[in-house]
């Protein structure tokens, strides 16, 4: 195994392009190091991207924020402006692992690790966040929703890696929230999870919404049919019941030691309702 620490994204892309063996991109390392230790992967080359300018920075851009791919959960959580604009995204990222893991773990790594239960990803999908990807053919942007492809798999092409995640500006009277179910209070993997992002009009009616679910399908899933159930509503009981039903209908979960198909299917609807209510109040309306 070799270790490289390129100083620019182009240098990294060139190194990766000419490597014939297995490559692992190293940012926070909280997944890669575990895989190395377990012998699950034996990469020929580890590329540490943390020296690339901007990768450890949070930069305001067009009313939103560009989050470098190597920004840790702790750094994200300490950024008051990002937290104020996208609280649901930040609370998802902050649920990953312990204080120690937060010191290193990144949203980009959480996304690229490809877990259907990745806590940072539903919030990013609901936020309509966009990944900036570097590769052998240069840079491209891709919605986060289009990156997960299955457990441990992404749609990134060979030689591609994330350099940042863009969280867009959002209209006034907007809010988002992320909730997951785990059987304890900390240090666990989501059994089911839901993120809701919404915008209200002056009358407190939901004018736009996005709903994303985690751990209930082979990938984190954007569910437009669920968002449609609450658009045009003030989150009355009927709308919440329809939201819950639409989320449960969109599930395609597995049975495993953490939860059954039936449990996940039911709980994700409850989580979506509760997340919608939190997002609604964050958008400025009491419920």
């Amino acid at each position: 195994m070799r270790f490289a620490r390129p100083e620019t994204a182009h240098e990294a892309a060139a190194l990766i392009a000419k490597e014939t063996g297995l490559i692992r991109i190293l940012s926070g390392g909280t997944d890669v190091m575990v895989q190395l230790k377990a012998g699950l992967v034996e990469p020929a080359l580890i590329v540490d991207i943390k020296r690339i300018p901007g990768l450890r920075k949070i930069t305001p851009e067009a009313g939103g924020f560009r989050i470098g791919a190597a920004v840790s959960g702790a750094e994200l959580g300490e950024h008051a402006e990002v937290r104020a604009l996208w609280p649901g995204v930040v609370e998802g990222a902050e649920l990953i692992g312990s204080t120690q893991v937060q010191g290193r773990a990144t949203m980009a790594g959480n996304l690229c690790n490809g877990s259907p239960a990745a806590d940072a990803v539903p919030g990013l999908v609901a936020a309509n966040a966009v990944a900036r990807i570097m590769g052998p053919n240069g840079e491209r942007d891709c919605p986060i929703a289009d990156i997960p492809a299955g457990p441990g798999k992404t749609t990134l092409a060979k030689g591609e890696f994330l350099t940042s995640i863009f969280l867009p500006a959002r209209p006034a009277r907007s809010g988002d929230a992320y909730l997951r179910f785990i059987p304890r209070t900390e240090m666990d993997i989501a059994v089911a999870a839901a993120a809701v992002s919404l915008t209200l009009n002056d009358a407190g009616v939901i004018s736009a919404a996005r709903v994303a679910l985690g751990a209930v399908a082979p990938t984190v899933r954007l569910v437009p049919a669920a968002a449609d159930t609450i658009i045009g509503s003030k989150l009355d009981e009927a709308a919440l019941a329809a939201l819950s039903a639409a989320c449960s209908a969109a599930c395609n979960p597995i049975d495993d030691k953490r939860g059954t198909i039936e449990f996940r299917t039911q709980v994700v609807g409850v989580l979506a309702k509760r997340a919608a209510l939190i997002a609604y109040s964050r958008a400025g309306e009491k419920k």
Partner: protein, 158 residues
């Protein structure tokens, strides 16, 4: 495997070491620098026994490559006492009998010091959540929480 030459600062001292590309910072600290305070409990970032600070940030040294420490500042349990004078957290752990076998203790002390630097007056709940990634299989956690809170109180009035 081609070895890598690394220069870093550990507990305020400039150090240089040679390590393999896949060698963890924990293994470097223990096997190359003789700093055996940080322990390997799980090796997968679950137990916190290997906690150190890296550029001021609390991390699991088992999840960091030695090569990543190039140019970085590392803080370990060995740097906490001032000569023969124990850090208030260390003294408090003794006073409260907040340890038995001691394997988890260095990591908990490093983590607790990091908490008190950020938040000198935490609630019990904040201490428990901060230390959720530090597992202890002997004492139970109550004595650890009491010890951290007592040290925090003494440090605030110092």
């Amino acid at each position: 495997m081609k070895s890598i030459h690394v220069s870093a600062t550990v507990n305020g001292d400039a150090v240089e070491f040679i390590c393999a590309p896949d060698e963890s910072l924990l293994d470097v600290l223990r096997n190359r620098l003789g700093l055996t305070g940080a322990k390997e409990g799980c090796g997968t970032g679950d137990c916190g026994a290997c906690s150190v600070t890296l550029d001021g940030r609390l991390v699991c040294s088992c999840l960091v490559l030695g090569a990543e420490a190039e140019g970085a500042t590392v803080g370990t349990i060995e740097g906490i006492a001032d000569g023969d004078t124990l850090h208030p957290l260390q003294q408090s752990f003794i006073d409260h009998a907040a340890l038995q076998c001691g394997i988890c203790t260095p990591g908990i002390l490093v983590a607790a010091k990091s908490l008190l630097e950020k938040n000198p007056n935490p609630t019990d709940t904040e201490v428990r959540y901060w230390l959720a990634g530090n597992l202890c299989r002997c004492t139970g956690y109550d004595k650890i929480i009491y010890a951290v809170q007592d040290a925090a109180k003494k440090m605030r009035s110092a």
